[in-house]
């Protein structure tokens, strides 16, 4: 399921946009420990396309997408 989320990101001196923290529903702030890959990609699961950041968050690999000026992730559906 596509879920737009709040992200804190910075521009480095070369103009690269680097996400640093993501914010979840419970208002908790999760730091992005490492970004292992950045590329243009589509997400068939969440339904969208943009720049995909492969992030390590709490030791797990997660995809974070920048779709124009919004960030989204593929979230598990809660029942």
């Amino acid at each position: 399921m596509k879920k737009y989320i709040k992200v804190t990101a910075t521009f480095d001196c070369d103009g690269n946009l680097i996400p640093e923290y993501i914010y979840w529903d419970d208002n908790r702030k999760y730091p992005i420990d490492r970004i292992t890959d950045v590329r243009y990609a589509a997400s068939l699961k969440a339904g969208g396309a943009g720049i995909r950041y492969t992030c390590m968050i709490l030791g797990k690999e997660r995809f974070l997408f920048l779709e124009e000026n919004r960030w989204f992730v593929d979230a598990k559906e809660t029942k």
Binding site: Y40, A41, A42, L44, K45, A46, G48, A49
Partner: protein, 424 residues
């Protein structure tokens, strides 16, 4: 463009490598990407039925299997496929995806010529390290990965055969048409598969016993010319692989030959006042677009379609070149008055301008015209353009539009500016 230039056999010393990339069911594919739940259902993107724009604009592969066709009415499509999901279009999204595809193409060449939002020719002759077919495979893969949609690509030595190739096998396919195989692939296909052979030309050709593209190629040119005029030269050249038109550079604006807007109104136009309201809106958009692009025009055209779908077009050439909204609107309304008696209610009308000169050419003042008024109107248009740009289309409007939002509440300039493009 001179037609004979378009089919000049001796223009290039060496064969070019041209790709034509066509996004499959573009609007529907983009919608399905964004709505994963729809992916296994028959889906079509359609205009707004309530505003009587209810035709199918694009469909996905599943809907295609049911026989749903682009251009047919929603009810016709639903008869073939009752469970068809119809969605309203999101043109901004499609434009974004079109731009993303162009970004990928630009990694391989700077000669990219768009043909609508979903198609483009690429001249990759000078792409070092990969041949045309390999480049096509890579583009096909990247579009899938980066955009989440599929493309069919035709690879050939001219634009016409490349386009033919992208239509030949779809979706998600690559067709290579070379000098060795074009007679097997292209020539055995029906004549109407060739660009520029539409319904009317097909009918004419069939009457002459010409059914395939190979038949066109093997018919003596004089015979085709006799029956089709200069188009005979063109399709004869296309069928034989002589198309020599270049792929435009990505920074070149293709030559604008006309600017037009048309609309099907939410209700039929029954009186002249109704027509006048719609004409004002259309002329405002056409003139603003003309001024934005720095043109003045001398010829105004109108197209009219009544509620029984019979239609006609008329043109009028003015004495002077102009881009003033007032002049064009007056000319269009007068042309309409002269040519339409409104015996039946009207369903749609359109306004277009052609015959352009740049607006910076010196202006010969006339002692007969009221030049002061001309300058005032020019300033007025400039001011209105600025206001509309800053505060939106509806910030300032002619008084004639007040009171009938049913007919005038549309913005042809910005609503979905996907202007049709012609090949020549």
């Amino acid at each position: 463009m001179n037609i004979l230039n378009a089919v000049d056999q001796n223009k290039y010393k060496k064969d070019r490598v041209i790709l034509h990339s066509d996004c499959n069911g573009f609007y529907a594919s983009v919608e399905c990407l964004h709505n994963p739940k729809l992916r296994n259902k028959p889906v079509a993107v359609s205009g707004d039925a309530e505003n009587r724009h209810g035709i199918i604009l694009a469909k996905n592969e599943i809907a295609k299997k049911y026989g749903v066709k682009t251009g047919e009415a929603i009810w016709q499509a639903k008869q073939k496929c009752p469970e068809l999901e119809t969605l309203s279009p999101h043109f901004d999204l499609y434009k974004r995806f079109s731009k993303m595809a162009r970004r990928i193409y630009s990694d391989y060449t700077d000669r990219i010529e768009s043909f609508g939002l979903d198609e483009a020719w690429l001249d990759v002759t000078h792409n070092i390290g990969k041949n045309g077919y390999e480049t096509a495979i890579e583009i096909n893969r990247r579009i899938k990965e980066e955009l989440g949609i599929t493309v069919s690509i035709g690879v050939s030595f001219n634009k016409i055969f490349a386009k033919f190739g992208s239509d030949y096998k779809k979706p998600d396919a690559i067709t290579l048409i070379t000098r060795d195989n074009y007679k097997d692939i292209v020539w055995n296909s029906p004549a109407e598969d060739l660009l520029y052979v539409g319904r009317a030309t097909k009918k004419k050709l069939n009457k002459l016993g010409i059914y395939t593209i190979g038949d066109i190629a093997n018919t003596p040119l004089g015979f085709l010319r006799k029956h089709l005029g200069k188009w005979g030269d063109l399709i004869y050249g296309f069928a034989n692989g002589y198309d020599s038109s270049p792929v435009a550079h990505m920074n070149e604006n293709s030559d604008v030959k006309s600017i037009g807007n048309s609309t099907t109104t939410p209700r039929d136009m029954k009186t002249f006042e109704d027509v006048k309201i719609v004409m004002y809106v259309l002329c405002d958009s056409v003139c603003r677009r003309m001024r934005e692009q720095g043109f003045m025009s001398r010829t105004v055209g109108i197209s009219v379609r009544d509620n029984e779908l019979s239609s006609f077009t008329r043109q009028y050439t003015m004495d002077e070149y102009t881009n003033l909204t007032k002049d064009i609107t007056t000319a269009a309304i007068n042309l309409f008055k002269k040519s339409c008696k409104m015996q039946r209610p009207l369903r749609s009308i359109g306004v277009s301008v052609t015959d352009f000169v740049h607006d910076n050419i010196p202006h010969q003042m006339s002692i007969l015209n009221n030049e002061e008024r001309l300058m005032q109107n020019r300033e007025l248009d400039k001011t209105i353009d600025r206001l509309k740009k800053r505060f939106g289309n509806y910030i300032v409007r002619p008084a004639v539009l007040i009171g009938d939002n049913g007919l005038s509440a549309f913005n042809p300039k910005d609503d979905h500016t996907v202007h049709p493009i012609s090949y020549l």
